[in-house]
Symmetry: C2
Subunit: 628 residues, 2 copies
């Protein structure tokens, strides 16, 4: 078993796709972690914005969460419909492209890709941040830990979707189990103690009220809280990853994910208000995350507290996985439509889109390294992409129903129209309240990506135009080519090349360039005896020898000049350059060579000009007598 | 004027060699700096060893210096004779090889090359060390400064010998002028004041006497002082670099260098004793170099002191240049004899041996980076190489005179025999007293280099044996090759390849490998219409289509397997693989390609096996209609 097999498992055949398909149980770890993990930072983000209000802010958390959950439900019903309508994968790109036009699709795709890349960097960095704040001795290794997690995620995904699902299952269900238990106990206590339960561990004291709730502040809090919804579109994009019947399995998975997220958001909001928990200033001493405060208040700081917080950190780290599942899939769709380079199309060893996985890992690694593993500065760039994609997708579905019509189409249309309006409104709020913080960068990046897609497509179209041919093969025999054979000295390597050259054409030039090596001799003296006389004896045209003394010790320039001069002199004929090359048996022997043949082949290909054909006659040193 | 011309000057023709040749005036900066600079560290090294003796040590410096100067004179007369006997360059390698056999020559060459590399690293690092101790704010940039000086030296040498000579002339003559003046003034004062002159600035007080002068200690001091003699062989190796009459010019240059060095060594010894100057502990606070103490004692710490010390630092930095002049020249001689790879033979743009200069710069850079710019640890490795080479060269000359005989041969023989004996004895002293400090590493490195030379030569001989041919060209026409054309789809690129294939042979296979790209169609349906019918109409054999569906999405494996299967089935015939390739007009367009053609050419060359010929038919996108 080779090392690759050990690391990545055996290569899967294209028709073994089913083995890598997933059901709802592993679908949640693969596609749902982004959405679920946001339950831990969405409420926190909203409460942090409300910090200036002190205790007053607590009043707003339940209504704000209710608004977000309502929005989530609308988006949920919209995406359920999308999954039914596009059973072969209805990501925002496909839906927007098919119903609103290619440009709309590309904008949605650009927005999603941006969000996926940001999600990987931010999720890993947040998870490692939580880990490091629990064990401060790890602080100097922040970047190393981030990259380590990235490598783990990349490897798991290169092994295929099933492996990723299996590996990430335990932390996912531990996370859900623990948090559900905390919420159940907390809500139970709240009900039993008349809405004002006594905390087991009291949360930090409230800061003084510093301001009043302006509409702008509430909008900002709402916009920040909406980061809780990123990742919801992942399932609709990944329908083909599910077992048959894919559409049903995908809908089930989406339902479970959204229901869990809704319970988490509602539970956290209720418990925060009941226990009077406010955000603490992040980055300052005494900082404690909202979830940590909630769990401590409900069940105290026992082993269960630590188990829950461990699961939260694990899920934060792994929530980057949603991007790994969807980014490469979206890239494949774009590549099939020629908006991205071709390698994104092909599935790798384990039927995962290895190239896309690699590109995602590379881009995230660049972000992590550039920000030294602390990506707080990237958070404001977030959410714009997700809501832009949501809006495009919903608007696309509205156009879809309007076009398709059919049974209950008005109801479907109404649901999607509500979704589109709600997400569009949210998008406006997000951009308006976060524009100067970084949303403008997201906007620029989406535009840049759009332009790249367009220019990649334009280049491919130009290339297709240039090489397109439907006509049958033109078999008019062209005149024989003029053949040039660069030779160094009279040896078997040169003879090998010359013999092949004579098979190509009767018009062969042997070109010897003499530099300043005192050991190399001009062949003109011996040419008659070595070549011309044997050729006359066989009655064939002898190759002509051209000796060039390079006064400036240049090898390639005289060679190229000869070839291009011949080509210009005979515009109607091809010029074939036969490059003899010694092939060694060990790589390190190439240290002893000057790589003339490789450089010459490269130069002829890229600088030779039209009508040049390059023939490479290898001479195998390790099997010389037979090759001769 | 291009950037390269601006940086390195115009390219020189091979017959413009004279323009780059030098006389004694620029010969001293080019070939003499190593020897001259050692006047500043040789006495220092000896005195540092004598430190434990305190004031008692002063007694020994004049006799030790006298011994070193006597040895220097012997070596000088020996090398004068060598230059006359070997007017085309009589380095230790040539002299030992011609008179004592190849192995002796290679040992001498290995020893010299090692010393040259060490000299570059140690000289630059010593110069920068002196600079940094004068301006401690530069300390954090030690490595950067070292590499900067290395780049300067490399660039000056790549521009050719004359440029190097001109650039380094001013510091060289400033160094000689200043130090001669100091010695003249100092010796004058000593004579006028009866042997005990009053210092202008008193040297640091003497440490207490801690031990007595054992023979071992004196030997160690002598061995350390002998580093003053490294670099003396440089002129004899570089005779061809001089203007005609080269031999005379070289002898003159050697005389000037050795005379200057003798004066410096004698002067420093006399003044050290007269002023009672002892070494200070290097690396400890209060450290002051011997030269600095001498200059301060003789002329005080005025502007002249600083000018002199600046010149000393400059010459230390530039003394690496001797290596740059000789290392590439020795490598060329070894490469001509096939003990080193071929690229060392060719002269670059300015007739300097650019490849050797580059290799020397690279090796020194590795040493400097590995030791963070502080190469004290390398100093004990030094001098072994120089004295090994001296001994080999002198012994070779003894054999030479014994063989040649002629006028006064006994005198010549006696001079060289004295030289050989003296340097061999010194070598034994050096190895014995410095073995555990690092001389054992030098010994191992010389052995390693020797083995490398031998194995390079063995490989070249094996290669020559395999490709050697003196017989005339065999023109028996071989059977036409079997041609394989890998094609992706039916386009002009594929047609281009197929048409060329049909010129090669009537037996052509078009091979289509189908992966998992949904856009690629199997060509079997259309082959009849596209290829077979036109071929039948023209009465020629149609290329056969082979479609391979790659279940595991592998492209190259099925291609290679097909080619090798065909080759094995027809061991008597060549298999030509025609690789069609699209050539783009801009490099960045290659980001959109998957480089199939390049990878395939590479695999066929190195994995194809014997009898494979690779034909590359480029399709130029920027000139498509004409290329078609």
């Amino acid at each position: 078993m080779s090392l690759t097999t050990l690391l990545f498992g055996r290569r899967l055949a294209s028709d073994e796709e089913e083995k890598e398909q997933i059901g709802p149980f592993s679908g949640i770890p693969v596609l749902g972690l982004d959405a679920l993990a946001s339950a831990s930072y969405g409420p926190e983000a909203a409460l942090t914005v409300l910090l200036p209000l002190g205790t007053l802010g607590l009043r707003h958390i339940v209504p704000l969460s209710a608004l977000i959950i309502a929005l989530l439900s609308i988006v949920y019903f919209s995406y359920r419909q999308t999954i039914v309508a596009y059973p072969s994968g209805g990501g925002s790109y496909i839906v927007a492209k098919e119903n609103l036009g290619t440009s709309a699709g590309l904008v949605a795709a650009a927005a999603l890709l941006l969000d996926y890349v940001l999600n990987v960097a931010v999720a890993i960095s947040a998870g490692v941040g939580a880990l490091v704040s629990a064990a401060p001795s790890l602080l100097p290794h922040t970047l190393g830990l981030c990259l380590g997690v990235l490598v783990l995620l990349t490897a798991a995904n290169l092994r295929g979707l099933r492996t990723a699902g299996l590996v990430f299952m335990a932390p996912t269900y531990a996370f859900l189990g623990c948090l559900f238990a905390v919420i159940a106990i907390g809500v139970g206590k709240t009900l039993l103690q008349g809405g004002h339960p006594a905390p087991v561990v009291a949360p930090p004291s409230h800061p003084a009220t510093l301001g009043t709730a302006s509409l702008a502040l509430l909008c900002h809090a709402f916009a920040s809280g909406c980061t809780a919804m990123t990742g919801v579109e992942a399932v609709s994009n990944g329908v083909p990853a599910f077992r048959k019947p894919s559409s049903l399995q995908a809908r089930r998975t989406l339902s479970y994910i959204v229901a869990s997220l809704g319970i988490l958001l509602a539970g956290v909001a209720i418990l925060t208000q009941a226990y009077g928990i406010t955000a603490t200033e992040p980055g300052k001493s005494g900082y404690q995350s909202i979830l940590s405060q909630v769990v401590a208040a409900v069940v105290g700081r026992g082993p269960f507290y630590y188990a829950t917080l461990t699961a939260v950190v694990a899920v934060l780290l792994l929530s980057a996985n949603t991007s790994f599942a969807d980014f490469p899939r979206l890239c494949q769709l774009l590549a099939i439509d020629r908006f991205l380079p071709e390698p994104f199309i092909h599935r790798g060893r384990r039927l995962a889109f290895s190239y896309g996985i690699g590109v995602l890992a590379g881009l995230s690694a660049i972000l992590l390294v550039a920000f030294h593993g602390i990506t707080d500065a990237l958070i404001p760039l977030f959410a714009v992409g997700a809501f832009l994609a949501f809006t495009m997708s919903q608007a696309g579905m509205v156009a879809h129903w309007n076009r398709i019509r059919g049974k209950h189409f008005r109801l479907h249309l109404a649901i999607n129209a509500t979704g589109a309006t709600a997400t569009a409104a949210t998008l406006v709020v997000i951009i308006a309240s976060k524009f100067s913080e970084g949303a403008w960068i997201s906007t620029l990046l989406v535009i840049a990506a759009y332009l790249i897609f367009r220019s990649v497509r334009a280049h491919y179209e130009q290339l297709d135009e240039a090489v397109r041919a439907h006509q049958p093969l033109d078999l008019t025999p062209p005149p024989p080519p003029i053949v040039v054979v660069p030779i160094r000295r009279w040896d078997l390597v040169a003879q090998n090349g010359l013999r092949f050259a004579l098979q190509l054409s009767p018009e062969v030039y042997a070109l010897q360039v003499i530099l300043d090596d005192p050991r190399v001799e001009d062949l003109s003296g011996e040419w008659r005896e070595l070549v011309e006389e044997p050729a006359r004896a066989k009655g064939i045209a002898a190759p002509r020898l051209v000796v060039v003394r390079s006064r400036y010790r240049r090898l390639f320039r005289p060679l190229l000049r000869f070839v291009t001069t011949v080509a210009h002199a005979h515009p109607d004929r091809q010029v074939a350059v036969v490059v003899p090359e010694v092939v060694e048996s060990h790589w390190y022997h190439y240290l002893l060579h000057n790589h003339t043949a490789s450089i010459l082949k490269w130069l002829l290909l890229f600088r030779g000009g039209k009508g040049i054909v390059i023939v490479n006659t290898p001479f195998y040193l390790y099997d010389a007598p037979k090759a001769a």
